[in-house]
């Protein structure tokens, strides 16, 4: 084995991918897309408000419409006060409404049908900018629904806000009718909140929910990278085999050098991409940016990436990549085209997907027997261990054992797969059976 040969192949694999426009598009698209689905809606919600005018016909005789008007004005005022006081805070519950409401209260007319027709007409032609009208019959105070008439009835968020505020108002009327003081009631039924704080020295992430999001993001980045770059190894090997470049290459270097060069080169491409992604996460979660984007709820601190965690991530990525990519290399070498190879390659996907299935369980209890056992199984370690580390640092012995097991597994995979690769890469013609491929590994 000559290291300079491996290096030449490594260099080609790395540069030919990193020089490719597609790599940069994919690499930059993921953070952009991720920001788009997380930050944009928050931004849109906090910045873009519409105002809606709703006519409420109150047939309850209990001043529900007027009370609703007050209630809505009160929440709107509270929200703007809160926003002015703490711009870094994300609007809390009940404030994430998309619109300000203007309520026009009416009493039922002598001819209700005529009144209904007139309101329908106002909504229809938008006269007086009326967006919807509601009819609150006396039964609303018991168990009847309130009628809601609008041009569109799929505006669930608006309806949700209306429903919430109306329920609040009606609840107070009901309480008063039952002789209970609403204010007293509210005081007594107040929810108890949990203020989750991590015991120092047990983990890496700061706050509960942010740490969790962070761990899950890491998990999926690793998952995507291992799957994507592992398959790149397979298509790369198939390309060399299909174009017969391989016949020229192995007159100059050994199949083992070629395979290792390819694996290392693509592994570094994957690490480059991960570094860019993690860098983006770091920048996006920098305190200044978080504040300006009004990204976090009050009282939540962002998790930080420590050096130890970064090193663990890098090593686990390398091990994970090799555990799967060696398999992909052997499969790519054994078959003649992508279709043939893909059927067998899907076996690897089963193992990569398995940790996703138990993701919830592990997040909930990262020290459970399932979590510990799975994080020690070499094919799962590279995905589950980072997740555990991000949530709660596992005991040292578990981490050490996981490394030893995975490392041994990877060495075994390199040994077997390079032997299959060596034979398969020069085999053309009929599709080999799994038994045949297995036999190749034991040719002397």
């Amino acid at each position: 084995m000559r290291l300079d040969n491996i290096f030449v192949v490594l260099k080609r694999e790395y540069l030919s991918r990193v020089k490719n426009k597609g790599f940069w598009i994919a690499t930059l698209a993921v953070p952009l897309f991720a920001s788009a689905v997380t930050i944009l809606p928050t931004l849109l919600m906090s910045k873009s408000h519409t105002s809606q005018t709703i006519v409420v016909v109150d047939a309850t005789g209990q001043g529900v419409a007027e009370a609703l008007k007050t209630q809505m004005a009160k929440t709107a005022a509270a929200k703007s006060k809160e926003a002015a006081a703490a711009p870094a805070r994300r609007p809390g519950k009940g404030d994430s409404r998309l619109a300000d409401f203007t309520i026009e209260a009416q009493t039922p007319a002598a001819d209700p049908q005529a009144q209904r027709n007139e309101l329908d007409a106002r909504v229809r032609n938008g006269k007086g900018k009326v967006d919807a009208w509601m009819w609150l019959g006396p039964g609303v105070l018991k168990d009847e629904a309130a009628e809601y008439h609008a041009r569109n009835t799929t505006n669930f968020l608006t309806q949700d806000t209306l429903r919430g505020d109306l329920s609040e108002v009606v609840r107070r009327v009901r309480l008063r009718q039952a002789g209970v003081d609403p204010a007293r009631m509210e005081e007594l039924t107040k929810r108890v909140e949990l203020d989750a704080k991590q015991v120092p020295g047990t983990g890496t992430s700061g706050g509960g929910i942010a740490g969790l999001i962070f761990a899950v993001v890491l998990f999926f980045l690793l998952y995507m990278s291992i799957l994507m770059w592992g398959q790149q190894v397979m298509t790369g090997v198939l390309e060399e085999k299909g174009t017969r470049v391989i016949e020229v290459l192995i007159s100059a270097i050994t199949p083992f050098e070629l395979m290792m060069g390819k694996l290392l080169g693509i592994c570094f491409v994957g690490m480059t991409q991960l570094a860019i992604w993690l860098g983006t996460v770091l920048v996006l979660t920098a305190p200044g940016i978080v504040a300006t984007l009004a990204f976090l709820p009050a009282g939540m601190t962002m998790p930080t990436l420590t050096i130890g965690m970064m090193l663990n991530l890098a090593f686990l990525f390398i091990l994970g990549f090799f555990a799967y990519a060696t398999f992909y290399a052997a499969i790519g070498a054994s078959f003649n085209n992508l279709q043939e190879a893909q059927q067998v390659a899907s076996v690897a996907v089963v193992f990569i997907v398995a940790p996703v299935m138990v993701l919830n369980q592990i997040i909930n209890d990262p020290s459970s027997t399932t979590a510990v056992a799975m994080s020690l199984f070499p094919l799962f370690t590279p995905l589950i261990m980072p997740l555990r580390i991000a949530i709660e640092m596992p005991p040292f012995w578990q981490l050490a054992l996981a490394y030893v097991l995975t490392f041994s597994f990877v060495i075994g995979m390199i040994w077997i797969c390079s032997r299959i690769y060596r034979v398969g890469i020069l085999m053309y013609g009929k599709k080999p059976t799994i038994q045949e491929i297995w036999r190749w590994a034991w040719y002397s």
Partner: protein, 300 residues
Amino acid sequence: MNPILEVRDVRKSYGDFVAVGGVSMSVPPGSIFGLLGPNGAGKTSTIRMIMNITAPDTGEILVFGRPRTPNDLRRIGYLPEERGLYRKMTVMDQLLFLGEIRGLKRAALVPEIDRWLGRVELSKWSGSKIEELSKGMQQKVQLIGTVLHKPDLLILDEPFSGLDPINQELFRELLQDYRAQGKSVVLSTHGMELAERMCDHICLISKGRAVLDGDLKEIKRRLGGNSFRVIAEGDLDRLRAMPEVEQATILNDEIKLMLRPDADGAETLRQMIGFLKVREFRSEEPELEQIFMKAVRDAA
């Protein structure tokens, strides 16, 4: 002089199918050696064994006078039958890579690549991706990749297929330059006419067996002493049926006639005049194709 490449009774079977059933050949230094035969004769199988891509079932292959080592393989330039390059790489990157895997340094490679690209008129394509090139251009790039490390032996599997006459001529010049430096070229082809123009040594393969092997001029002298070019009209079937005639290839009004070694040309002409209107009868060097067909028939 010791042969640069020697193949000794090499055999290879795939299941019941005998791909190569005993091929021996010997490539002298400073020669262009043609491995000839129809499609499916076993040329590519033989070459793949020489290149250590497949192992022979039996037989021996000596390169530079000894059993091949991995380092010996690096002194060979090999152009496979099915052409392939990395489609997404530029011409320059591709050639640099092919040089570097043979241990050459980048600094030395760049001027060498530029020189070659200039010679085959591809200089302005140096930064283009392989997939943007025509097939003929790709083939030229691949040939450069084969000779870039100045190998002592070139093994080219069907190097002329898919090339237009101008590029064929260019390839021919390159190979003759190569021979002039005392190096050897082994090329396989099924085009007899081409081989005849280029090769000084040949090995004819048919159905996995070498049926003829040696110096082309010597083979022609030995096997084609009794060849004639005839222009005649009349009952050509009767001509074919004559016992002295071993082979008669008829092209329009021209007949390439090969007589049995013991037949007398003058006597045959006398008989022919009896049933043909002969306008021309002249002794001629036989074409390789005639020799090949005779050799295949003799072997069968």
